[in-house]
């Protein structure tokens, strides 16, 4: 039985034992049908041309992990930000950990998807939002819709400015088994609400873990969502991350993606504009080596006038690593005065590293400003020599230049603890002990 068949069969088995709202049950059964028909994407599909899934979907995963290893605080401490006070929604092998979490219902909901899906008081919210932002034809998303029962549910009411960031952390322990996890997050920021969120997936074992996560984010009028994805997972871990953001007037959604770890990462980051004067920001630093693959597929759908999107992705590829950047910007005819900016800069540190970069602009309006650019280069040898003559050894000099190449992406990070953590992760990844407090 291949993975697709196994997943479909597992779905059939689980539906008899769970109770969903009838509306949700309908969405799920339609989703599993989509997945059953489409199966996993193949390299023949344009969107997956440079991102082979063969190895990933030929592995046998446990779909419903049974044994959860008891984690101690020491096991998880390194992956949680401590130098800032935060709310925490923590899962271990897909199961909520009350011990590690700090949720709230005071003046807002920072809690669990499972609670939102099962408790009557959330019924209206769930029916209004659940699976309404997604691309229902995307087979990974459909698969998650069919299976996803747990994750973060965050609802920030009107004008509420959340005073501290929220960390969403999914740990996996995979005791003697390969795991497939399908977390599902739903985030709703009502009018003028403001929230900062940090998301992380972390495997704590050497077994193969495949996470297929879907996050839906709704930013209502004037709301601000500041989202950070720290992707520094174990080398046996793989991630398909699909994030769908629906924006209303004057809202600003900002997503930073830091991809340093994992064997395989595919990010689908979609912004949909439902009104005028919207800002969408997406930034990323990718720093990989060995046989790692990181794929960023972004989509900004400008459907109304006077909106802006700003994307800036920096990639550094060493060893035999592969990168993909596909930035799609759609500007509908109605979306006059759109200002869309896209930049993708890459450095190849070795002869065997690869980057496939493609801007994809579909513009139907005539009064717009769309700029895009991509570069592929190498570290400047003269600069390296210059640094070395100042006593900075080659490894440190390369690290400094690499950091300098990427660090303007960090200027828009608003949580100092995140910035410090990213600096530290970059230094660690480059094998140097430099402060980088530039």
């Amino acid at each position: 039985m291949d993975l697709q068949e196994k997943l479909v069969a597992s779905y059939m088995a689980q539906t008899s034992s769970t109770e969903d709202l009838s509306a949700i049950a309908k969405i799920r059964s339609s989703a599993i049908e989509t997945f059953e028909q489409q199966g996993f994407p193949t390299k023949k599909m344009e969107e997956w041309k440079y991102t082979p899934l063969n190895k990933l979907v030929k592995t046998d995963y446990t779909v419903f992990p049974k044994k959860t290893k008891n984690l101690t605080l020491d096991d998880v401490q390194p992956y949680i930000l401590h130098d800032v006070d935060t709310y925490k929604i923590v899962f271990v092998d897909g199961v909520y950990s009350a011990f590690l979490s700090e949720t709230t219902h005071e003046g807002m909901d920072v809690c669990l998807m499972s609670a939102a899906l099962s408790q009557p008081k959330y019924r209206k919210v769930i029916e209004t939002y659940f699976d309404t932002a997604t691309d229902s034809e995307d087979s990974f998303t459909a698969l998650n819709t069919a299976f996803g029962r747990e994750g973060a549910f965050i609802h920030i009411p009107k004008k509420k400015v959340v005073e501290k960031p929220i960390q969403i952390i999914h740990f996996s322990t995979g005791v003697n088994q390969n795991l497939m996890l399908q977390p599902r997050n739903l985030i709703v920021a009502d009018q003028q609400a403001e929230v900062q969120i940090i998301e992380r997936h972390q495997s704590l074992s050497d077994t193969e873990v495949f996470t297929n996560v879907v996050t839906e984010i709704f930013t209502h009028k004037g709301a601000q969502v500041d989202y950070y994805k720290i992707q520094n997972d174990h080398e046996e871990a793989s991630l398909v991350d699909s994030t769908y953001i629906v924006q209303q007037k004057h809202s600003h959604a900002k997503v930073h993606t830091f991809s340093f770890g994992s064997r395989f990462v595919r990010n689908n980051l979609h912004f949909y504009h439902k009104d005028e004067a919207i800002q969408s920001t997406m930034k990323g630093i990718t720093l990989v080596e060995g046989k790692q693959l990181v794929d960023h597929h972004t989509l900004v759908h400008h459907a109304h006038p006077n909106s802006e999107s700003h994307q800036e992705y920096k990639g550094i590829y060493d060893g035999q690593a592969t990168g993909v950047f596909n930035g799609k910007i759609v500007v509908e005819q109605e979306a006059q005065k759109t200002n869309a900016f896209q930049q993708n800069n890459n450095i190849l540190m070795s002869d065997k590293a690869t980057i496939n970069t493609k801007p994809q602009l579909e513009i139907f309006a005539d009064d717009v400003r769309c700029t895009h650019g991509c570069t592929i280069g190498q570290l400047d040898e003269t600069a390296l020599f210059y640094l070395q003559t100042r006593g900075i050894p080659q490894k440190e000099a390369r690290a400094l230049l690499t950091y300098a190449f990427a660090n303007n992406v960090l200027a828009s990070v608003t949580i100092p603890a995140v910035k410090m953590r990213i600096n530290a992760l970059i230094a660690k990844k480059l094998g140097v002990n430099l402060g980088f407090n530039l």
Binding site: D380, A383, F385, T389, R390, I392, L400, L401, N437
Partner: protein, 248 residues
């Protein structure tokens, strides 16, 4: 301090230095002059340790040890400093962070502890003042958008911070107006001592009015063809390099 004997070097298979002999002792200032393409910049690059420049013959001794197999950073740790003719722009690294990293990596290379932050700060302020460098300038990206004068002043600032034993100033005067030249030269002179040495590479006599050399050498086609005291620079200024070429 620096002892060069019959040094031959090539880059990309092309021989550029063809038997250099040069002896620099502590406390001395040597000027190396010569027409374009004579090998002046190659000599400084070879001493500093660029890996693309290969020493094919002769010896390169620094404080009695052969340094020809050492990397540029290892030579820097021993006390060799090269002020670049064209300092490299490095966006994203501030002057301050760069100098801190350079000092602490050098100290690490010398087996010393990192310099305490307050000592570093005090030193940065003191040396910035010496070179009339505004503190705002220190938080800018290294050399990015700097004027020619600012770049050179920044080179000498690094020299002042790192306090090397041997400083090679490669065409430090190019791109400087007379005021900037005076500031830079004054900075260099303040750093002169009986323990360190300076090699000034220049086309023109002008800089040598301010940094007065003990010896002047003329480089031509990869060899030192004439050496003398500071009056040799004046003679060159007057007669031009053709005089040397003809004498050959």
């Amino acid at each position: 301090m620096l002892s060069i004997d019959n040094l031959h070097a090539q880059v990309e298979g092309k021989g550029i230095l063809k038997g250099i002999n040069l002896d620099v002792k502590p406390g001395e200032v040597h000027a190396i002059m010569g027409p374009n393409g004579s090998g002046k910049s190659t000599l400084s690059t070879v001493i500093a340790g660029h890996e693309d420049y290969e020493v094919t013959d002769g010896t390169l001794l620094f404080q009695g040890s052969d340094i020809s197999d050492l990397s540029a950073d290892e030579r820097a740790h021993l006390g060799v400093f090269l002020s670049f003719q064209y300092p490299v722009e490095i966006p994203g690294v501030t002057v301050t962070n760069f100098i801190k990293t350079a000092i602490n990596e050098t100290r690490k290379g010398q087996g010393l502890e990192e310099m305490p932050a307050n000592v570093m700060l005090k030193k940065i302020k003191e040396k910035a003042k010496l070179l009339s460098i505004d503190t705002q300038f220190l938080s800018r990206s290294l050399n990015e958008g700097f004027s020619g004068g600012e770049k050179k002043r920044n080179e000498i600032f690094q020299l002042a911070m790192l306090e090397p034993k041997l400083a090679i100033l490669d065409e430090t005067d190019s791109g400087l107006d007379i005021d900037a030249l005076r500031v830079v030269a004054n900075g260099v002179n303040t750093l002169r001592s009986k323990d360190n040495a300076i090699i000034v590479i220049t086309h023109y006599q002008r800089l040598l009015d301010y940094i007065v050399p003990d010896f002047v050498h003329v480089l031509h086609e990869g060899k030192i063809v004439k050496s003398g005291g500071k009056e040799l620079a004046l003679e060159l200024e007057e007669k031009g390099y053709d005089w040397i070429k003809q004498a050959m």
